[in-house]
């Protein structure tokens, strides 16, 4: 049995402290009005930003579970593939509402 300091503590530290920094970043760009949800491509960017956080959270979480023999390594690929498909579909759907942004 591996110690908690090696299994889940780094994961919790990474995503709680990282999550705070990420949230501050989102708060700052909203407060500074550098992201404008009236623009369709900015709405898409906001989705991509949150997706990115969940994406990395999933990668680390799934590999940790596989390393601890809770799931088979194959399910890492399955989980990430499903997430990737969701990402592509949502980004495509959001793109159809606005064109021509540079």
């Amino acid at each position: 049995m591996l110690p908690f300091e090696h299994t889940w503590l780094p994961f919790i530290y990474l995503y709680s402290l990282g999550g705070i920094l990420f949230s501050i970043g989102i708060w700052i760009i909203f407060r500074a009005k550098s992201i404008d949800l009236k623009r369709s491509h900015h709405r898409r960017w906001l989705f991509i930003l949150f997706f990115g956080f969940v994406w990395y959270f999933s990668i680390h979480g799934l590999v940790n579970l596989a390393a601890l023999d809770v799931i088979r390594p194959f399910y890492i690929l399955v989980g990430l593939f499903i997430e990737f498909i969701i990402f592509i579909v949502v980004v495509k759907l959001m793109k159809s509402h606005g064109t021509g942004e540079v």
Partner: protein, 696 residues
């Protein structure tokens, strides 16, 4: 520790030489597109996101190299990937904060931002710190290249009857000469296109090696079951051992490293600035960090994991005590055939060269922009940048590239005694990035961050960092999260936390006490200039105390606290600063003003579509392009809007393109009128269709 020499066959060397020649010819071909310093350094701000994304692979992967991640993969397993997968937390700050500011404010280097945002003195200090950072980075790149090639070379060679040993420094000098020649004559466009090719090859070579390695150990299931459980965890143990622990690397890499890489790595920033627009830069950054970095993490670390698996099933083939920095070469040689090994090694070394090339090019940009031009202006020799001045600067840029290459080789001496490249890089990041990282970060997000605050962050922060480096047991230990201090390399990673805290602490305290400083200065200056001049002398003396290690740790600490009080008064008195003027368009809350400044008018954000047009030459030499009324409606564009025109062929990635302003409309749908100069700058080919899109 077991080391290796003369690995590989003559077939491998032939493949390597052919590969390098092909890459150099490829780069030289695109070097002909370099017409000015703008092209040399920024590639003319015209490329598509996908081209920049792939070209960043070679830069990013090269710098976080095969050698050091394979070494950590061999020692600690899959957690070698963690430094590649912790960059997302700062992406909102980057793509909606720093990137638009950099592009819209039209700055060419990070120190230039410091002058616009703060003062010339802040620019001067930022230039020194940034040059140290960049040259140190080049040194790390050369060290990695040397360590990658040494196992392939014999221990010595014979010439004129005498035996000459092949040393690490000797190999690095030869590599530096080849690198210097290439970058000197290529420029940024050549680097981008060479990196594009190498990025793709690199990913392929790394994945090929993983596939060959898995086949060698009996397939993925066998590989997974051989590895001990601790080797399979994606994150290292929280605070053990001192040379590889999660919390230290989190602060060194996820915080200092990520901000450093995204915000102050001039080389990477220049790639994003070479994108045709801010949105393309965002796409390049997002795709790179989201999808390319996780793949790259496997590409660069897998040789170490395979090496570990082989060392368990066949310790005679890969001894457990193999030098970690040599494991990549050892494993590549074992799992691949002659020729394939040469190809993998060529891809590795070429990628490392790409990183070094990018850094040398970026450092030359800083030299021209922040050293050469200000000195030249001071000497009053070039009031305006004429055509001949630009040619002269291009020549100076090429000489600067050579000089920087030489300094990069010398910088290797500072890092070559670390046990592994990984630790050298970690120590380097923890030590050199915090003052600039804190200054950039507070500068772009906090309006109250004044010249007094930034200069005190640089000098007071560096003083406190020196104190921490000299007395780690006293100053860094309270933040060590339980990491044991290694006396020979104390707190290589977690020192980043201490360094960031002291630099940001100094910056925030000085920023918050701006009102007090103004009142104090106004009272002190009532008694004439003498007192203020005396305070300048006192500040210099106070900074010299930690610089030359005078007195005990307590004395130096009190001295630095005094410096943090006195220095802001001096700066407030001598540096003229207008908060409104100096922050306009240069902080996140004024990006809209930056856009207005970029366009020289109100941006037009109506969403239109791209149009395809044929081009004709027009009379005159004004910098306008003219579209038909119909095409203007489709693009939702007005005259005076900014427009981007490029060759319709997507695979060119924007190589043949221009930015311009829309002039008066005409009545010929599907036609755009360009001047001769515009068609020449855009490298447009007669009868080729162009695609136009309104920028703003």
């Amino acid at each position: 520790m077991q080391t290796f020499h003369s690995i590989g066959t003559s077939a491998d060397w032939i493949v390597m030489v052919v590969y390098f020649l092909a890459i150099m010819i490829f780069g030289s071909y695109f070097g002909r597109y370099t017409r000015s310093t703008t092209d040399f350094f920024f590639g003319g701000r015209r490329f598509s996101w996908w081209l920049i994304t792939i070209s960043i692979v070679a830069t990013g992967v090269g710098s976080h190299s095969f050698v050091k991640y394979s070494a950590k993969g061999f020692e600690h397993g899959i957690s070698s990937t963690m430094t590649y997968m912790n960059d997302w937390f700062f992406v909102p700050f980057f793509i909606f904060g720093w990137l638009p500011i950099v592009v819209y404010s039209k700055i060419r280097s990070i120190p230039e931002y410091f002058e616009k945002r703060f003062s010339p003195s802040a620019r001067f200090l930022a230039t020194i710190l940034l040059l140290l950072y960049m040259i140190g980075y080049i040194g790390i790149g050369f060290l990695t290249l040397g360590k990658a090639l040494i196992p392939m070379l014999p221990e010595s060679f014979m010439m004129f009857g005498a035996t000459f040993p092949i040393t690490l420094m000797g190999a690095i000098i030869v590599i530096a000469i080849i690198t210097g020649i290439y970058i000197t004559y290529g420029g940024q466009t050549a680097v981008i296109f060479t990196d594009l090719l190498q990025g793709a090859i690199l990913i392929f070579a790394g994945l090929l090696l993983f596939a060959l390695g898995l086949a060698f150990v009996g397939g993925f299931d066998a590989f997974w079951n051989i590895l001990p459980m601790t080797w399979k965890l994606p994150l290292a143990d929280f605070n053990q051992p001192p040379n590889f622990n999660f919390v230290g690397i989190f602060w060194q890499d996820a915080i200092a490293g990520s901000i450093g890489f995204l915000f102050m790595n001039q080389g990477l920033l220049m790639r994003f600035m070479a994108c045709k627009s801010v949105n393309e830069g965002r796409k390049a950054a997002a795709v790179n960090i989201l999808f390319v970095l996780p793949v790259s993490a496997i590409v660069v670390g897998n040789a170490g994991w395979i090496g570990k698996a082989i060392s368990i099933i066949n310790p005679d083939l890969v001894p457990v005590n193999t030098s970690p920095d040599q494991i990549f070469v050892v494993v590549a040689n074992i799992v691949s055939q002659p020729g394939v090994f040469g190809f993998v090694m060529a891809a590795l070394t070429a990628a490392l060269m790409s990183t070094v090339d990018t850094l040398i090019n970026a450092t030359a940009a800083i030299f021209i922009n922040d050293v050469y031009r200000p000195i030249h202006r001071l000497m009053n020799k070039a009031k305006t940048l004429s055509g001949s001045a630009d040619k002269r600067e291009l020549l100076v840029a090429r000489y600067a590239s050579m000089g920087i290459t030489a300094l990069g080789v010398l910088a290797v001496l500072a890092f070559k005694n670390f046990p592994t490249v990984y630790e050298a890089h970690g120590y380097f990041h923890s030590t050199l990035t915090p003052p600039l990282v804190v200054a950039i970060f507070l500068g772009i997000f906090w309006k109250k961050f004044t010249p007094a605050a930034v200069i005190t962050t640089f000098l007071g922060g560096v003083g406190l960092m020196l104190l921490g480096a000299r007395y780690p047991g006293i100053f860094i230990a309270p933040f060590d999260h339980g990491i044991t201090m290694n006396p020979s390399h104390p707190y290589s990673y977690i020192r980043a936390l201490y360094n960031i805290l002291v630099c940001s602490g100094v910056g925030v305290i000085v920023g918050l006490t701006t009102g007090w400083q103004k009142r104090a200065v106004s009272r002190l200056s009532q008694n004439g200039e003498t007192l203020m001049k005396a305070l300048v002398g006192v500040s210099i003396l106070l900074f010299f105390v930690p610089l030359f290690n005078m007195g005990s740790s307590t004395f130096q600490f009190i001295d630095l606290l005094l410096l943090v009080v006195v220095l802001p008064l001096v700066v407030t008195h001598y540096v003229s600063y207008d908060e409104e003027k100096n922050t306009k368009g240069l902080i996140t809350s004024s990006i809209e003003e930056a856009r207005i400044g970029f366009k020289s008018g109100l941006p037009n954000d109506r969403e239109g579509i791209k149009v395809e047009v044929s081009w004709k030459l027009s009379e005159g030499d004004e910098d306008y392009v003219r579209f038909s009324k119909d095409d203007m409606i489709k693009m939702a564009a007005n005259s005076e809007d900014l427009v981007y025109l490029c060759d319709k062929r997507k695979w060119l990635g924007g190589l043949k393109s221009i930015h311009s302003r829309i002039g008066k409309s005409h009545d010929e749908p599907g036609i755009v009128y360009l001047t001769k100069e515009q068609s020449r700058n855009g490298l447009f080919v007669k009868n080729r269709i162009l695609e136009a899109e309104k920028e703003m």
